[in-house]
Symmetry: C2
Subunit: 324 residues, 2 copies
């Protein structure tokens, strides 16, 4: 800035002003400064700016996995909104390990982000403490709780499982199974489904956990195991559309018809769900809305808003298609 200022015949501060608020500088000065910037190829140093102003214009975002469409589209919507407001996103994957999340949170906080987005509501005590101590707005997405760290935007996972059980029951299914990926929230949806199904029908649903994240291969394998143990007819609740797709394929290949023999309900309403054959009935959650709402809540706070702490439940909706 010093050099740019010299070239434009002004001091360093004036250059700073021209960049941060052009209206504070005379038209002629502004022109000369811009020329000097163009000539030198000057790129302001945001690190120095952040240190001096203690505003980093950086938002940190932590998700379990970015290859999972569900989180990726949430982050996309979140980033897009934050970027409009001139914030950048420091993104990290935390995987499934809370220890890993704790380390990542510490690393992110050292960059002094202006706010932070976390996935889920379970964080280690030390994580909570660091977050609270940092004093920045925190938004937890993709789940709801009565005791958020700060802001929380999500939906009730148990409620989706219960709604799925009611849906199965209404359709007269007397037998059911629930297949879920290795994911704490998927597990809770499955459990809620099984519990409510038992309450409604008196019959226990088989819970089939898989050893990894949701893939078609895992869905097929899980369904294969279920069929091998004698499952012949009934309702299959899946923790994701990808799993459901695998379940449908395996069932069809083995000669069962969907939904007549086996009715399948997915979760997430991913793009393909409405376009494969048979189309997949699913539980829709508006992923983009989570990202957008989380961003708005944070922006409101960053603009001086104080009273929007608390939980927002964005709900869900069962989308009935051909598979169930």
């Amino acid at each position: 800035m010093e050099a740019v200022g010299r070239m434009a015949g002004v001091s360093q501060v004036t250059v700073s002003r021209a960049l941060s608020d052009p209206s504070k500088v005379s038209a002629d000065t502004l022109r000369r400064i811009n020329e000097a910037i163009a000539a030198t190829g000057f790129v302001p140093n945001a690190i120095a700016g952040a240190l001096a102003s203690s505003k980093s214009r950086l938002i940190s975002a932590l998700v379990p996995s970015i290859t999972n469409t569900v989180y990726a589209s949430l982050v996309r919507a979140f980033s897009a909104r934050m970027r409009e407001a001139d914030y950048q996103i420091l993104l990290s994957e935390t995987g499934l390990d809370p220890e890993e999340e704790e380390r990542t949170i510490a690393a992110h906080l050292s960059r002094r982000p202006d706010a932070i987005l976390l996935t889920g509501i379970h964080h280690s005590p030390r994580s909570r403490q660091m977050l609270l101590a940092s004093g920045i707005p925190v938004v937890e997405v993709w789940d709801v709780t009565n005791s958020p760290i700060d802001i929380c935007v999500g939906f009730n996972h148990e409620a989706t499982g219960q709604a799925a059980a009611a849906f199965a029951h209404e359709q007269g299914h007397a037998t059911a199974a629930t297949i879920h990926a290795i994911d704490e929230r998927a597990h809770r949806r499955s459990q809620a489904f099984a519990t409510r199904f038992a309450e409604l029908t008196g019959t226990t649903a088989t819970v089939v956990p898989t050893e990894s994240m949701a893939t078609i291969a895992q869905g097929r394998a899980a369904m294969a195991r279920l069929l091998d143990t004698g499952f012949r007819k009934g309702f299959v609740h899946c923790s994701s559309d990808v799993m459901a797709h695998g379940v449908i394929i395996e069932s069809t290949v083995r000669g069962f018809s969907v939904p007549e023999d086996i009715a399948v309900l997915g979760f997430g309403d991913q793009e393909f769900a409405g376009h494969v054959v048979p189309t997949i009935s699913t539980i829709r959650v508006d992923r983009e809305a989570f990202g957008r709402t989380a961003a708005e809540a944070l922006l409101d706070r960053l603009d001086g808003g104080r009273d929007n702490a608390g939980t927002v439940d964005l709900g869900f909706e069962i989308v009935r298609r051909d598979s169930a």
Copy 2:
């Protein structure tokens, strides 16, 4: 650090040393400092550190879209490796617009990243200039060129299209079409396919562009259009597995059999390709390898390596399954 030092009975610099290189501090001092850190909940300010040392330990990464599995898994592998080396990733989507990329590059460079990863080899002149002026290592991934900005890790898109045409020809197909998403590289793969197919068979392949990114719905719609214009038998080259999946679904629904009537070749070897019915023949590129190789090249450079500029072609492979 001042406060931590006071509590531990040492100066601020000693705290700094204890954190950056514990071996420079006596065992006893180290212990007292660590106690003080634990007691105060001190989190070092990486912004100040970066300003003082002019090393940000930040790597910026620009991809067209994070919801596209192809780029997401590439970034995943890249981030994982960089993180092992204690670097964090500043990630942004650039979309399809080069202007947008230029703005994003400027914003990223202002954070003084230690290196930068870009997707593709086409960047605006001003982008190239800023990148060069920044003096940091630059890696371009997912394509190859004879004139990389610095390091380049990718594969030859034209070559994949040509190989696909040869593959179609070997199987005796006399008619062909190629469907591609709105993506410059997908377009080049399609063109290369059409050109080589014409050279080999004397027959022109129909090129079917779609108006958006790859989705099953787009694949189905494109195939519907193709069938509506009289396509009945032949080879369909697709710019992605997702498109291919849509093509297969639409063909099947309309009573055509795959691969007997219509042979379909995808691109990317995504997870589902080997598990849907029929399994999808595809062109595999090792996405994780691109991310990992790019990371290694950057790390080498950041560790003082100087001579690894240039292009690495990681190639591709046709995976023959049931759809073609």
